[in-house]
């Protein structure tokens, strides 16, 4: 099976003094569903940041989707990001755009035609149960609804990889359930690799998953 992520001896740090992840090795086959857990401040989000190129490894080799991220050029990084869907803990929605336009963003960037874009957005809005709110702006929605919009945006362009940082962190059961269903659906139906950083793995998961735990700067797989 192809590997979507291969990290060899990577060290991650924000400054020279403090290393967050120290000489870690990970290998994630495509189509996997992966949970990354760890205590607060252990480096879960830092690892996720490095996977979409927001933090370059201090040392080691990190290959995501076939792109070596150590010393990657801006154009190659943009190319990779166009094939990744990211869900942030703080949603990162464009406040001055309607939720419909927010969901459209990756499709616009990827140059999809208008009719394809509209059909895809309509379908996703139905899936996240927000069809009736399509013309609203993010700040007019609740936290759970905003996270559902962020989820729809991450799925809109059928990415090869979805990175989700605490996607259900502060959500009610209904929104959390929807988010997990969407992530599982993308993984089962579209064979999308899903990597979720979380404190708690849901008790009932309908997919087989890998589990990595971060502790004291090292990453180990939990069986």
């Amino acid at each position: 099976m192809d590997k979507v992520i291969v990290a060899k001896d990577i060290s991650l740090a924000y400054s020279d003094n403090e290393t967050i992840i120290n000489q870690a090795n990970i290998s994630i086959p495509s189509g996997s569903f992966v949970f990354i857990t760890g205590a607060s401040g252990s480096g879960k989000s830092t690892l996720l940041k490095s996977l979409y190129g927001a933090l370059k490894p201090k040392q080691g080799s990190l290959i995501v989707g076939g792109v070596e991220l150590s010393g990657v050029s801006k154009s190659k990084l943009n190319f990779l990001r166009r094939h990744i869907g990211i869900v942030f803990q703080d949603y990162k929605l464009v406040k001055e755009w309607t939720i419909e336009k927010n969901i459209m963003l990756p499709l616009i960037i990827n140059g999809y035609e208008k009719n394809v874009t509209q059909n895809q957005v309509d379908s996703l809005l139905k899936h996240v149960r927000l069809k009736h709110q399509s013309g609203k702006y993010p700040l007019e929605l609740s936290g759970g609804e905003q996270q559902r919009v962020a989820m729809a945006r991450a799925l809109s362009h059928n990415p090869i990889l979805i990175l989700a940082d605490e996607p259900t962190g502060n959500l009610d059961d209904y929104s959390s359930g929807l988010i997990w269903n969407l992530l599982e659906g993308a993984n089962i139906q579209l064979k999308t690799t899903v990597i979720v950083v979380t404190h708690h793995i849901p008790e009932t998961m309908n997919v087989e998953y890998k589990h990595f735990h971060i502790e004291y700067g090292s990453i180990h797989e939990v069986n």
Partner: protein, 270 residues
């Protein structure tokens, strides 16, 4: 309302640049037209012992447009106090010849000096009157006027360019969040900055259209036209095609240049 306010600050800044540019152009045209008027009035007088052929004088310096011989009859008439006709004829023959040289354009002081030198160098020419003092004063006055207008236009250009730069930076800060979100999904730099460029171009077009309206009105104002007529010049204050094209290109070009500088100079958030 806030959006109109944002646009207004850039439109007004651009409009003042266009206004200063056009004022400079009008001043330049006025000076050129006035120089042309002066060139018709200004001439150099030469005195020669012999009769000169026009072609010989024209060859001395390229700036000479035509030669006119000044008849001494009027002077001799004034001296005529009981002088015999024979003596009068003799006086006419012995008197030096006077020529008035008309020039192709209003010369610079250096050109006047060179012309005087060239003329004096001719064996038959004994004296040259170039009225250089009056000429220099007028020429320097024109240069001073042009200099003042140029400095004024340049100052406005520099100050308003800095204002536009600052305004575009404010816009960029306003759009930073959206631009960084777009970057996280792989949008190239041009796509992330498209709004900034669109706003800058739209405002440049608005400023150009406003400038067109203002200058068309000014160019048709009877009071303005009367001022030019009173000093004996006639100029095109605002060419609705050529000047409008120039002003539009300056406004759009400057906006794009400043927007590009801001976008390229911005440190990207990854």
């Amino acid at each position: 309302m806030k959006s109109i306010k944002n646009h207004l600050s850039l439109v007004i800044a651009l409009l003042s640049i266009l206004f200063s540019m056009q004022v400079f152009v009008v001043a330049d045209r006025s000076i050129d037209a006035y120089k042309e008027t002066l060139a018709h009035k200004y001439s150099v007088v030469i005195v020669s012992q012999k009769t000169l052929i026009d072609e010989d004088i024209l060859k001395i310096n390229d700036i000479v447009a035509s030669v006119e011989e000044l008849k001494p009859d009027a002077v001799i008439e004034r001296l005529n106090s009981g002088m015999s006709k024979k003596n009068m004829e003799l006086l006419k023959v012995t008197l030096p010849k006077f020529y008035k040289l008309h020039l192709k354009y209003y010369p610079t002081p250096n050109e006047v000096k060179k012309l005087t030198k060239d003329l004096i160098g001719h064996t038959s020419i004994k004296k040259v009157e170039d009225f250089s003092h009056t000429h220099d004063t007028t020429y320097k006055l024109l240069l001073l006027f042009k200099g003042v207008v140029t400095v004024f236009a340049l100052c406005i250009f520099v100050v308003t360019t800095l204002l536009i730069f600052k305004e575009l930076r404010i816009w960029q800060f306003k759009h930073t969040e959206r631009m960084s979100i777009m970057g996280l999904f792989g949008a190239p730099l041009w796509l992330r900055s498209a709004v900034l460029f669109r706003l800058a171009i739209v405002d440049a077009i608005i400023a150009s259209v406003l400038a067109y309206g203002v200058f068309t009105y000014i160019s048709m104002s009877p009071w303005i036209l009367e001022q030019f007529t009173s000093i004996g010049i006639e100029i095109v204050i605002f060419d609705s095609v050529l000047d409008f094209m120039k002003l539009s290109m300056i406004a759009v070009g400057l906006s794009i240049l400043l927007a590009s500088m801001i976008v390229l100079g911005h440190k990207e958030e990854v």
